[in-house]
Subunit: 424 residues, 4 copies
Amino acid sequence: MQIDQHRIAACNEPLTAAHQRRLQFLRQEIPHTEDIIAKLIAFQVAIPSWALGTGGTRFGRFPGWGEPRSLEEKLEDIGLLHALNRGSGAVSLHIPWDIPSNAAHIRAVASQLGLQFDAMNSNTFQDQPGQEHSYKFGSLAHTDKYTRQQAIAHNLEVIQYGRDLGSKALTIWLSDGSCFPGQLNFRRAFDNALESFGEIYQGLPDDWKLFIEYKAFEPNFYSTTVGDWGQSLLYTSKLGPKAFTLVDLGHHLPNANIEQIVALLLREGKLGGFHFNDSKYGDDDLTVGAIRPYQLFLIFNELIEGMDARHMQHATDMGWMIDASHNVKDPLEDLLQSVEAIRIAYAQALLVDRDQLTAAQNNNDAVLAQEILQHAFRTDVRPLLAEARLRAGGALDPLAAFRQEKVREQLVRERGKTAIATGL
Amino acid sequence: MQIDQHRIAACNEPLTAAHQRRLQFLRQEIPHTEDIIAKLIAFQVAIPSWALGTGGTRFGRFPGWGEPRSLEEKLEDIGLLHALNRGSGAVSLHIPWDIPSNAAHIRAVASQLGLQFDAMNSNTFQDQPGQEHSYKFGSLAHTDKYTRQQAIAHNLEVIQYGRDLGSKALTIWLSDGSCFPGQLNFRRAFDNALESFGEIYQGLPDDWKLFIEYKAFEPNFYSTTVGDWGQSLLYTSKLGPKAFTLVDLGHHLPNANIEQIVALLLREGKLGGFHFNDSKYGDDDLTVGAIRPYQLFLIFNELIEGMDARHMQHATDMGWMIDASHNVKDPLEDLLQSVEAIRIAYAQALLVDRDQLTAAQNNNDAVLAQEILQHAFRTDVRPLLAEARLRAGGALDPLAAFRQEKVREQLVRERGKTAIATGL
Amino acid sequence: MQIDQHRIAACNEPLTAAHQRRLQFLRQEIPHTEDIIAKLIAFQVAIPSWALGTGGTRFGRFPGWGEPRSLEEKLEDIGLLHALNRGSGAVSLHIPWDIPSNAAHIRAVASQLGLQFDAMNSNTFQDQPGQEHSYKFGSLAHTDKYTRQQAIAHNLEVIQYGRDLGSKALTIWLSDGSCFPGQLNFRRAFDNALESFGEIYQGLPDDWKLFIEYKAFEPNFYSTTVGDWGQSLLYTSKLGPKAFTLVDLGHHLPNANIEQIVALLLREGKLGGFHFNDSKYGDDDLTVGAIRPYQLFLIFNELIEGMDARHMQHATDMGWMIDASHNVKDPLEDLLQSVEAIRIAYAQALLVDRDQLTAAQNNNDAVLAQEILQHAFRTDVRPLLAEARLRAGGALDPLAAFRQEKVREQLVRERGKTAIATGL
Amino acid sequence: MQIDQHRIAACNEPLTAAHQRRLQFLRQEIPHTEDIIAKLIAFQVAIPSWALGTGGTRFGRFPGWGEPRSLEEKLEDIGLLHALNRGSGAVSLHIPWDIPSNAAHIRAVASQLGLQFDAMNSNTFQDQPGQEHSYKFGSLAHTDKYTRQQAIAHNLEVIQYGRDLGSKALTIWLSDGSCFPGQLNFRRAFDNALESFGEIYQGLPDDWKLFIEYKAFEPNFYSTTVGDWGQSLLYTSKLGPKAFTLVDLGHHLPNANIEQIVALLLREGKLGGFHFNDSKYGDDDLTVGAIRPYQLFLIFNELIEGMDARHMQHATDMGWMIDASHNVKDPLEDLLQSVEAIRIAYAQALLVDRDQLTAAQNNNDAVLAQEILQHAFRTDVRPLLAEARLRAGGALDPLAAFRQEKVREQLVRERGKTAIATGL
C-alpha cells in the first residue's frame, strides 16, 4: 500500500490551527527557527531492513501481523514511514536477508518511494544453509584460515550487492569473541581480524566507507574481538582513511559516557556512523529515546559541536541509522517513535547557544553550562518537527495518521496475519 | 542577608511580559493549569543543612567562599533559597553538625524565614572527639554491645533535638557493613541492626516517623547492612507502622529500576521519604536532574500514581529532601537547580492523563503508553513553575536573580572567604 | 548408551597411584577429610533437562551433534553424567518440553539410572501451538484475567506431571514485565502475579515446595514483575510456609552481593533453591565457576553457615540445580565442569574453620577473617572430590573418561548428527 | 625498627617440617618448580608510600596507630615488609607527600633496606598551601594556560626528585574531567591534556618512561579526560616511544574485561605498568585478590603470554605496583596480603601449559582451554612462594611472623598512637 498525499492532508487538516499557534509561539521564543526547520527537512535517518518485523529474545518471539514478505515489501514499509514523517528516506540492507536478485528493479522501487540506500550490512554471526565453514567459533577472526576467507568473500559479495544498488558504505558488526577465559588468544584474534578487515578494505571502492562497529558483549559473553571504541579505533586507524568507527548506543558497558566517545572519535576524524536505539541493561534495542532521552540529546550536542568544528555536513557526512528490535510494539509505530525521538534531540541540540556555552566552559561555570544545555532540552521543539514534515509533504502527527489510516490493518489484509519478515 | 521583596520584584519586572505570553500559551495547551499551579505552590522540598557548603571527595575538597559558619547562617542560606524559589521551605538537620544549643531561638529564626523542620539525621558513620567507642567497624550493627548502645543513645538524643525544634521524623542512614568477605556475619549483623532499630523505635514519639535509608555500597565496599530496598523493607516491616523506607536516588546498583521500587514500596504502605540527587556511576550526589531527568519524571509518575491510589497528600505525606554534594558549583546555585528540576518533574507527572494511561495499559498498548508519558515529559512546564513562584512571592528566574543580586558576593562580604560549613 | 562400571575402572586404574598420593597429602593437611568426603558423596546436583542440548542467543544457534531426541534420551544423558561423576543424581524437568506421556515408564528409566526428580519447571514465557491466549504481554501477571487463568492452569498441570514422577517442588520463573516505561502499572502487575501465585499455591500438595525465581531483566528490558530477591520474598512471605525464593546466580544487577542475599533469605527461612551458572555481563548462563569461582565459594560459605544455623541438611533441604546454556561447548562436558566447580566450592566451604572465623569476626579482625576464607579457597580439594567419586563408583577424572570413552561419538552414532534437543 | 634475621629464622623454625612436606608434594606434581621459584625470587612489587597509613572515604577516616611520620619511616615500613616477604623491594613515591629534602640520605636508607625506587607520582588533584592557581577545575587539561603551566612545572619537578633518587619513571594520574554535562568541551580538554603531556615528555630523561594512567570516574562524576585505555593509548601513541599506558585494576566500568585490555596494550607495545588492588563496585582500593582472585590470575596469564611473546623480562620490563587503601585493616598486614595474592597469581600463571593451551585454542576446544587454566588456578602454589621467601631470607608465613613479632606494637611504641601518615 501507499498513503495518498490527500489522505495525509486530510489527517493534517484538523490539527493545523493548533499547529500554527504552537509554531507561532516558538517563533517568538527562538530566533533561528527557519534554520532549524531547514536542517530538519534535510536530515534523514536510515531504516534497517530487519527492523520491519517483530524482534525476539533467546526465550521466544511473539510475531505480529502483516510483516513484509520480501525486499519490495520492506521498501514499501519504509516508504509508508517516509510518506508520514519525511525523515526516513533511506534504507540499510542486510545480506543475506535482503539479497536484491534484481537490483535495477529494487532501485526503481526505492527511487519511486524517495528512498536512498545507506550502508550495507554483512552477516557472519549466523550459519547459512549449505555454507562450507561454520561461524560457531568465529568468522573474520577465526583460527582457521579458510573460515576467515569465506567470511571475507561474503563481505566482498555484500559490497558488490551494494554497488548495484548505489550504496556507498559497508557496516561490519563482527560478533567474534569468546565465551570462556582461555578460549582464544586475544592477540591472535586481533591479528586475524585486522588481516581480514584489510582484505575487505582492499576490495572497497574508492568512494565507499567501511564502518567497524564495536560491542562490549553478546552473543559472546566473555570477550568480543571488537569490544569497545578503543579497539574499533585501533582497527580503523591501521586500515586507512576510508575506515571509520560506528557507534551503536546499546553496545557499551554500564554507565559509559557515550557522548565523550563521540567527541573523541570526531576529533580523530574517525566517526563514521551511528546506530540509534535505547537500553537500560544491555543491548536492549528499545525505541530510541524511550529510556534516556537526555543522553540522546547530549550525544547530538557533541555531534553538532564536533561536526561543525570539522565543517562536516549534518545531513550527509555521517551514517544515521536506527538499529532496534520490536518485541512488544508494532515495528512501524516503533520506528515512527524512534525517528521522532532522534529528530527532537537533533533539533534541541541545534538550539544550544554555542558561543554562550563556550564562554561558560572557559569560565568553568558549570551552573551556567548546565542551564544552557537544559534550556535547549526543556524547550518543546515538536512544532518545529511538525512544520518540517508539513513543508516536506508529511503528516503533522505521523503516529496518529498511521492509526487513523489503519495502515497495519491494510497491510494485514494484503499480506496476511502470518507473514513473518526475515531477521532476528 | 535577606533578599527584600522589592528586589525580587525588580528582578521580575523585565521578565513579566514574556512570562505572561508563555503562561498564556500553556493555558491553551493544558486544561488544568490552575490545579497544577496550586499543587506546585504547596509542594516544598527540604534542604539538608550539610548541602550549604562545598562538598568533596576522598581525593580532596576545593572550598568555596562565604559558606555558613553556624546553624543560624545555614537557615539564612535556606531562607535565601526559599525567598527566591518559594519551594524550599524546609530544612533537614544533621546531628552533630547542627546541634541547636538554643532550640527556641533556632525555631524563631526558622519561623521568621518561613521554614519548617523536616526529618532529623543522625550520624554514626564518623567518630566524634571524646567518643568512648569507635564506629570504625560499625555502630548500630557493631559486634560490641556497648558500641551499639552508644549509637542508640545518639539516635535518641537526635530525636530529642528534633522534638525541641518541631521535627516529626528521624532518618537513619546506617553505613555499617564490611569491606572484605568474611569480615562480618551477615545474619548477626542484621540481628544487631534490627535490635538497635527496635530500641530507637521504642523511643520514637507517637506522631513521628522513622526512615530507614538503604545504600548498596560506600563507605563499605563489600557489603552494607541495609543494602537495598528489600533489606530496608524487612527492617521497617518488622519494626512497626511508624517505620518507613527512605529512597535515595544514588544508592542503587547500576541500572536499577528505581521507579518500580517506589511503586512497590507505596503498595506496601512503606515509602516514607526521598533523597533527591543524580548520578552516573555511584552515589555521585550530583544536581538533581543533571544526568537522568527522564528517570526523575518516571519516579514522580509512580509517586503520584501510588500516592493518589492511597489517598496520600503530595505536599505532606512524604518526606521530600535533597541530598547532594557540590564539588564544582556554588552550593546555593546548585540547590536552586535541584529544586527546579524536582518541581519540573513533579509538574510534568501531574500532566499525565491517568485515565488514558490506564486504558493503554489495559490494552497493552506500549506505543500509546509511551506517547502519553513522553507528551507530558516533552511539554515545557517551566512557565507553570514560574507562575507558582510569582504567586508565592518568589522570583520568575531564581538563578538569574541570585546572580543579579550578587547574593554570594554579599555572603562573602559578611562571612569572609575562608568560612567553611560543617559537613563532608 | 551406558558406561560400564568396568570401563570406568579401566579409566581410573592408571590414575590411582597419583590420586592416592594426593589424597594422602591432603589427609595430613586437613583433619576431617572423611567428614568432607561423606558429605560430598551425599551431595547431588540436579541437571535441567533443557541443558542437554546446545543453547543459543537471539543472534543464532550453532547446534552440536547427537543431542537427545526424547525425554528418555535426556535421562540417558544425565545417567551418563551421573555414572561418571556420581554427583548429578537428579533431574529437573520442564513442561512442555518434557511431557512424560508415560510417567511410570519414565520413573522406571530414571530409577534404573539412579536419578531423582527435582523441581518441575513451568513455561509461560513462550506460546505453544494451539494456545488460546498469547503470553506476548505476560502470563500470570497479564492484564487479562483469562490469560492469567490459562497460565495458572498450566502450572497446575505441571504439578500433576510432577506428582506422577515423584517430584516435590515447582519452580516458577515468571518472565512477565515490561519493555517500556508506562507499559504496565507496577502495582496492578504485582497484585495480579500475587493472585495467580496464590491459586497455584492452593493447588500445591502439602509436601511440595513452591519456588519463586527472580530476575532483574531479560526477556523484558524495562521492568520484571519478580525482579529481585526483595520482590520474590514479598510474594513468598505473603503466600505461606510452602513458598520459597529461588536464587539464580545470573539474575542480578551488576556487582550485586549474592552471598549476602543468600544469608538473609536463610535467616528468614525463605531460601528454597539454587540455579547455578556463571556470568560476566548478564544472564550469560556460562559454566559454573568459569568466571567468578571465589564468589561461588563465598556463596557456599554462607549456605553452610546459614543452613547449619537452621539445622538444615545440606543434601536434602535445598534444591541444588544447574541452569546454564552451552553455546560453544559440548553440553555434557560443560555439565561435568559445572558439577565439578560446584562440588569444589562446597568442599572448600566445608574446610572453613567456623569457630576461628566467628572469633575473628567478633574481634573485627578483617585480616584474619580473610586469611581463614582464603586458606580454604586456596587449598586444592580436588583429591577429596575424586575420592568421593571413587567410593561411589565414579571416575577419578570424569571429563577425561568422557573423552577417552568417546561418549559423544557413540551418542552421535546412536542418534545422528542432526538430533536437536528441545529447549532454547 | 628492623626485624633481625634470626627472629625470622625463629619464626620459620616450627613451620619448616610442614613446609618441606608440602614443597616435596608439589615437586611431584609440577615439573618446573625450580624455574618458578627462581622467577618468584626475582619478582618484586613496589609499595606506594601513601599506602602505609590508614585510608579513608569522603565520609570519614578512622586512623590506626603507629603510622610513619616521615619518608624515612615509610621506607622503614617497607623495609619491614620486604624483610618478611622478600617480594616488596621497591617503593613508589608521591610528591608532595614525600619530598626527599635530602636525596642522598634517602637513597642510603633505601639501599640499606634493599629497596629500589620505582615510578614517581605527581599530584595535581589537590591544592597545596600557597599554590597560585587552583586545580578545582582541572590541572594539565585546565582551560587556563597558567594553571596548566603550573601543573606541568610540578611534574617536571617530580622528575627531578626522581632523578635524584634513581627512579626511572613518572606516573601521571590525571583526575581532570567534569561533573556535569556541558561543563567542559571534550575535544579542547583532550587537546590541552595532550599539549601538557607533551611538554612533560620533553622534559623526560632518555632512559625514563612516562606512564599515563586512566580512570573511568571519580573524583569527577560525569567525564574523565583520561577515562579509559583507549584514551590513554591515544595519548601515549601520539607522545612517543617513552610513553606507556598504566592499568589500575579499579579504574574500569562494571564488567570490563581487563585481561583483554592487557593483551591488546601488550600487542601495541604500550603497556608500561600496573596498579594492583581489588574492587567490587568502583575504585574500592581493596586488598589485591580479596574479591576476584580468578580475574587476577587471568590478567597474569595475559601478562606472561604477552610479555613472553615480546621477549620482555617479567621482573624488570613492567612497573609492578600496588595502589590500595586500608580503611579497616592494618596497612602493613593488608600489604602483606596483597603482595601474597599477586605472587600467587603470578605463580599460578607460570603453571599454565602454554603449548597445550595454544593447541586447545587452535582447536576451539573451550572445554580443554578452561581445564588448563583452572588446573593452574586450582593448584595450591603457596609452598612455592614460601620456598622463594625462605631462600631469599624471608619468612615462611610473613603475616604470622608480623603478628608474632608484634611489629605494629613496636611501631606504636616508637611513633605513638596518634602518628598519621601523609596521603589520602
